[in-house]
């Protein structure tokens, strides 16, 4: 009985996110990203920076980067002071954005996008879509949209990126401290930026 009451309270407290609005936002963002990928003026390695800038603008509108960074750190977030949190978010958001941009950039723009449906969850709405490549390869991608109507997590092939990083950070922080983790992240970010 008490379990039912707790569950009921939890559902009652769950934020109300308009599934249609969330789907429209995801659709519009995906369409904008594909537009960039198909743009002949932005093709090739020589236009990488321009392409990334355009994709970054699209993803900044759709993704709640700080929320994604916070989720990725999990319970360790609570152990950080405000300055450490800001430092982590500033670095990790850039790496995360870079990761997504590289993933998106791997598609040619000729892929077919299919929307599978939506499913409410305690934190918002899960918008399910899949990308079908020319060789009929299906890549399921689920966007988790929060009350801010922005994406707070993405799952690709059933792997939640926030959950994945949480596990990776856990393993690093067992043998190292926050400073050690930040050193690795900042070093990676520097080399990525230099390569662009």
């Amino acid at each position: 009985m008490s379990v039912v009451i707790v569950l009921g309270l939890a559902l009652a407290a769950a934020p109300q996110v308009d599934a249609d609005a969330a789907t429209s936002m995801v659709r519009a963002s995906v369409a904008s990203a594909l537009e960039v990928l198909e743009d002949p003026a932005l093709q090739g390695q020589e236009n990488l920076q321009k392409r990334y800038a355009r994709l970054r603008a699209v993803s900044d509108r759709a993704f709640d980067w700080p929320a994604m960074a916070q989720r990725s750190l999990g319970a360790h977030w609570r152990d950080l002071d405000e300055a450490q949190r800001k430092r982590f978010v500033a670095t990790f958001v850039e790496l995360l954005a870079d990761h997504y941009l590289r993933q998106i950039d791997r598609f040619s723009g000729k892929e077919r996008v299919e929307y599978v449906g939506t499913e409410p969850n305690p934190e918002g709405v899960e918008v399910k879509m899949k990308i079908v490549t020319a060789s009929r390869e299906e890549v399921p991608i689920h966007f988790y949209v929060g009350p801010s109507q922005r994406v707070y997590d993405v799952s690709i092939e059933g792997v939640s990126i926030a959950n994945h990083y949480r596990g990776s950070f856990d393993r690093i922080l067992v043998n190292s401290d926050f400073e050690g983790l930040m050193k690795r992240l900042e070093q990676t970010l520097a080399s990525r930026a230099a390569a662009l």
């Binding site: 390695q45 040619s108 390869e137 792997v159 994945h164 390569a195």
Partner: protein, 422 residues
Amino acid sequence: MAATHAEVDRAEARQGQVRAARFPELQVLLTVTTALQGELVDEHGVRSTRSAYDFNLTRDLSAAFGGQLTVIQPLYTFGKLDLRAEAAEHGLYAAKAQVDMTRAEVALEAARLYELNLYARSVLLFLEDVEGIAKKSLEETEALLAAGAAEVTPQDKLRLEAALGLTAVGRHRAEAGIAQTSAGLRAYLGLPTDQPVALADGFLEALPAAPGSLEDLIGMALERRPELMALRHGIEAREKLAEAQEADYFPDLFAVGFVSGAYTPGRDFVTSRYVLDPLGHFLPGLGVGARWTLQWDGAGQRAKEARADVTALEQLFVWAQAGLPAEVERAYRDLVRFRADLAKLAVSLPQAKQWMVRASADYSAGLGPSSEISDAVQAYVALRVAELDAAYGVNVALAELARATGTLGTGDLGLYPGGGAR
């Protein structure tokens, strides 16, 4: 196919010849020859010609018009005609079964070529996808190396270049496969050599047909395979032919009717019952007769030859009865194996993809090496190609199973191309 249809025409003609032998045989002979005129003179009962000893070529020369019609109706042949008719009928059934055999062989070969063409096209599309991604990864890696990124090594670049080399080799093989199977399909379908081959399916997928139990399939094969039908009728035909050959020891009894006549202008008609003038007469007649054509033991030896054919066909029949279940089982086990592969790959492929996603996420944050992405991609590519192999294997096994059960191209059972799946 046209050649086997000609065999049916040949068997039908043979049957027609036997049927024709039951009808009366007609022989007609018409002649026009030179003749001499002659006038009969009665001299006390002795007939002679007035000019018998006074021959004048210009005065006596004439032309004789003669004709002879003989009708022979077989009455009793000691079974020769009936046995040959039965042999011809079984021969026709055997020829028709051989058409079905050839049709199934052609259909199976066309199915193999179709599936192989689709497989090669699908592999090509997949490799082009992989190649596109690998090229972008190589560009990224080169940029990171140029920027002096610590997490990237020259080996990463070489690994990607090696992968691109392997992809190119696979692409060449797929392109050659498409060209070769297209040429094969054009040959089997009788299309012009310059006509492009367009397939109904865009991408290879395993057909869903459920074939039932192995025992049922074997039972169906033994009942429906045209090879067994052809052998059964072939044996019957040879048996009957052997019996017919043995009947050649006996005569053919027949009724005969004939009319013979000749007329020569200027030549009197001899009415004597003892003398028949070949240049002027009319002679009808009816009778019965018997006709033998004996070649020592030729009939027996011909029967022996036909019986040797029977023995050979019977041995083939025994072999086929043992071989067909094995053929069904081989296709069935292939199907089971490839379906099991697909079931396993349905689990393994997503796992490989998850590995790629995780390895890529770690690499992006500097938490993992790029070599792990390469390992994951390599595993994924191998599994995806294995999935296409298995889908091809399922479809070909279904076509072979349909052929083995005698249902290929008949639409029965829906094994291949599958009940509405294509």
